[in-house]
């Protein structure tokens, strides 16, 4: 089960089980692949790309195109970098037993199960996670045909009228949102811990 804690230093301690780790690595890898093709002309037709790189000028296609020319490469690189941060976090303690090479990232210690992932996120890495979780959710939503209908996810999908693929995608979408909500709370709690430590009042009681 996904869980987030907060260290004494105010960093976030994250834990994902083996199945969750596999899913996140798979989704993250797929998104990174999609972003690699962002400069291809065909990418312009992909609604997910359209949502990840929206028009900056809604009523001025020329200005939007110019904005896109100047920003898209950097924006895509930042999104890929966030994906890499997430993948590195998950790989840092999830190396399987049959991989004898030492972990490239210093782990916080041995974890009970070889494929669970447990790692510490500072604020910067936490934001990479939040951004990447957002990009994953935006992409899945676009795959489900949802871009701007504000009520699209208000109700649970009807299993009788929804394909298995779409049900699975919706499940992933909801789960990623749950993870993001927990991570936001943990980052806020971490900030409160740091503030209490620096302020010296010690009265800040972080929310659970």
């Amino acid at each position: 089960m996904t869980a987030f804690g907060v260290t004494d230093a105010g960093d976030v301690l994250a834990r994902f089980d083996a199945a969750e780790t596999r899913i996140l690595l798979s989704l993250s890898g797929q998104l990174a692949e999609m972003l690699a093709d962002v400069a291809e002309p065909s990418a312009g037709l992909d609604p997910a790309i359209g949502r990840l790189f929206p028009d900056a000028y809604r009523e001025d296609p020329d200005a939007s195109a110019e904005f896109s020319r100047f920003t898209r490469t950097d924006l895509a690189a930042a999104k890929v970098a966030a994906a890499s941060t997430v993948q590195r976090s998950l790989a840092s303690t999830s190396a399987s037993d049959d991989d004898p090479s030492p972990s490239s990232v210093a782990g916080a210690g041995a974890v009970p199960s070889s494929s669970d992932a447990e790692f510490v996120l500072d604020t910067e890495a936490g934001w990479s996670w939040l951004r990447h979780l957002t990009d994953l959710r935006l992409t899945i939503a676009a795959r489900l045909g949802v871009v701007d209908d504000p009520n699209a996810f208000d109700e649970e999908p009807d299993p009788a009228q929804t394909s298995d693929d779409d049900l699975l995608a919706r499940g992933l979408f909801d789960w990623l949102g749950y993870v993001q909500e927990l991570l936001i709370a943990a980052l806020e709690e971490g900030a409160a811990v740091r503030a209490a430590g620096n302020g010296g009042t010690g009265t800040a009681s972080p929310p659970v």
Partner: protein
């Protein structure tokens, strides 16, 4: 302060130069979307713009209830930087001229 503005404006067409002469401001708008969590939008507003929690919550609720909110006002270059940053966070942001 005006140096950068005039340098930029000279390169643009005369319409924009005329507009700039009246110092017509631009705004950054964040639009509602069905994906981004309310807590995330508020967190981004606080972290990126440095808004106090109350102001971030107010703007987030505007986005949620009215479908959009103006989160920044200023010159075009500055607003483009904000929009690019918002896109980096996955928020649906655009730039437009402020209503006169």
């Amino acid at each position: 302060m005006t140096t950068t503005l005039s340098d930029t404006d000279i390169a643009r067409d005369t319409d924009v130069v005329d507009e700039a002469a009246f110092a017509s401001p631009w705004v950054t708008i964040v639009w509602n979307d069905p994906v981004n969590l309310m807590s995330y939008v508020s967190f981004v507003f606080r972290s990126y713009f440095g808004f106090a929690r109350e102001e971030a919550e107010r703007l987030m609720m505007l986005v949620h209830n009215d479908g959009r909110a103006v989160v920044a006002t200023g010159n075009r270059e500055e607003m483009e930087r904000h929009v690019e940053a918002m896109h980096g966070y996955g928020l649906w942001a655009s730039i437009t001229k402020a209503d006169v």
